[in-house]
């Protein structure tokens, strides 16, 4: 068991190493020299040269990479090119906001999908099962930017019940203010998760119900609720994996949704920093999103070992 865990952790680190290389290479692939976003175009050659040396752009690429990596490991991503704040501050604020959005989206999506999915696995011909099918197909097929606009059209423009952008009303930083701003973007971002999860829960529970040990449970005289407990316990590891992956995606920040609702999360930061050629922020944001995604995957893998006795060896 220890070996399995160590192997998973090792793999996670290997993945992260690959991610740092790609993130660093992205900068090199961006159009234009990185130096151009720092130095005004009409600066003197001497100034330009001085800055190139200060930033280390004259060094070989691999030296630049290891310098950057070393600093990144210490949490030092430098200052934002556009407003000179610490990149780490910008990214961690954005991350905090994305976490709120991701939690809002996933709590609603997970709870709803479990209720609808389990119910429709037991009653495939019920109305709720049809609702589940519609959610399932709809959630997966409607692009989230479309859904965002539809939601804004209905709830903000027509009904005037919910705000269409930002996280708070100006001057009102209360929880209820946050909650009212959260509802629409959370629905838009969570629709996909809801669709995927509903289908997964339904198929996983339905499949488990057909396994032969369920016949044994009936044959030994257990009541239907007691049998259901066994069924859910057996579906749990699969659902845990899907739920974790979905949460990982949501933590990656939905750039479209965050941009449309002006939600100052990590997706919006990545979008803005690319347009302002704020390369230290872009790099840091992508790297941190990747680290979070890999970590969530690692945690799921470890939790799966805890949840499924057959994986403990």
């Amino acid at each position: 068991m220890i070996r399995v865990i160590l192997k998973r952790i090792g793999l996670a680190f290997l993945t992260l190493f690959g991610v740092t290389v790609i993130v660093f290479a992205l900068l090199q692939m961006m159009p234009g020299e990185p130096i151009d976003s720092i130095v005004p175009l009409d600066a003197s050659d001497a100034l330009r040269q001085a800055i190139i040396e200060k930033y280390g752009f004259d060094k070989p690429l691999y030296v630049q990479y290891f310098c950057w990596l070393g600093n990144a490991l210490r949490g030092n991503f430098g200052n934002s090119v556009s407003d000179n704040r610490l990149v780490l501050t910008i990214v961690s604020e954005a991350l905090h906001n994305t976490l709120i959005l991701a939690l809002g989206a996933s709590i609603v999506a997970f709870l709803l999908s479990i209720v609808i999915g389990v119910y429709s696995a037991y009653r495939p011909k019920s109305i709720l099962s049809w609702v589940g099918t519609i959610f399932g197909i709809g959630g997966i097929s409607i692009p989230n930017y479309c859904l965002s606009l539809i939601l804004i059209g209905i709830f903000s423009v027509t009904l005037h019940v919910l705000p269409s952008n930002g996280m708070y009303f100006s001057g009102d930083y209360s929880f209820s203010s946050l909650l009212r701003h959260l509802i629409l973007p959370a629905l838009a971002a969570g629709a996909m998760t809801l669709g995927i999860m509903t289908r997964m829960v339904r198929s996983s529970v339905a499949e488990t119900r057909n396994r032969s040990f369920v016949t044994t449970l009936r044959a030994k005289g257990l009541s239907e609720p007691a049998i259901m407990r066994h069924v859910l316990r057996n579906s749990f590891p699969t659902l845990l994996t899907v739920a974790g992956l979905q949460f990982g995606y949501l933590m990656g920040g939905s750039t479209m949704v965050e941009t449309i609702f002006s939600w100052p999360g990590i997706g919006l930061i990545i979008y803005q920093s690319i347009f302002t050629s704020d390369f230290p922020t872009t790099q840091a944001a992508i790297l941190i999103v990747a680290v979070i995604f890999v970590s969530i995957n690692l945690i799921i893998d470890l939790l799966r070992i805890v949840a499924d006795p057959r994986l403990r060896k």
Binding site: S212, F213, T216, A219, K220, G221, S223, R233, D308, P309
Partner: protein
Amino acid sequence: MSDTIVKTTDLSVAFKVKKDLVPAVRQVSLSLEKGRTLVILGESGSGKSTYMKALLRILPHDAAIDGAAEFMGEDLLLKNEKEMRELRGDRISMIYQDSLSALDPMYKVGDQVIETIRAHRKSVSRAEAREQAEQLFVKVGIPSPRERMRTYPHELSGGMRQRAVIAMSLCCSPYLLLADEPTTALDVTIQKQILNLFLELQEKDGMSIMMVTHDIGVAAQVADEIAIMYGGIIMEYGSTREVLEEPANPYTRALIAALPKSGDRGRLVAIDGQPPTIVSMPSGCPFSDRCAYATQICKSSIPHLTPVTQTHQTACHLYERKEE
């Protein structure tokens, strides 16, 4: 008072396939006395497992059961789901072919036994149930039962797992044990041990066993009576000695002839053709397509069981004709 534990009269099971009713078990009349063993012998698809599941009423919802089934004088088909649930695992319990898929992989085997005890004996505390489960493990010959109870199904060997399943089935001292190919998935040596365990337990507790198998050897070892099933009907029914030594039905004879004997070399004698599936059932005797003696009447009408001796019946038109 008669000591009949279970008795079915013309019990039929049909599955709904689209709009048709497809018969899987046809008018099966069998009975089993206290403390005796009935083996239902047949090829796969002959309806033998379906028959047993029908007794316990654990077939899927699209199965229609017809006829009569009595257990200790009570009509099984009149009971509601709650009454059946009280019966299952308590007075009637069941054992399966594949013990690995029959147990819940997520729960420790001990807990699965405890759960069964507590489902039927509400007054028993968890600790008492644990104590009882441990004694059951000892009874079915599982060494170091306390440790074994804490293991998961996949951590046990096939033989140990089947013993654990048997322990679970015995937890409420059943009057009737239904065993669905309980030894098919096991090595021959383990098979022998498990069969001996059945006979031992039967001697101690006087329970009745109804076992389904396709293995004539197994039937010969444990059966008091044998019923030969084919295409959903009983072809021959009688004491083990009579059915195996003086078979009166061409199918039984072909089955016995197909057994490899020691010293036999070269090709095995097989029965030509394939057993019918429930959707391609001949309208007459189900064996008529493969039977070397089939006549016109065999193709058109289903034979009924007719007595050969007091303890032996066969369903064959040829036999009926011979009597006339």
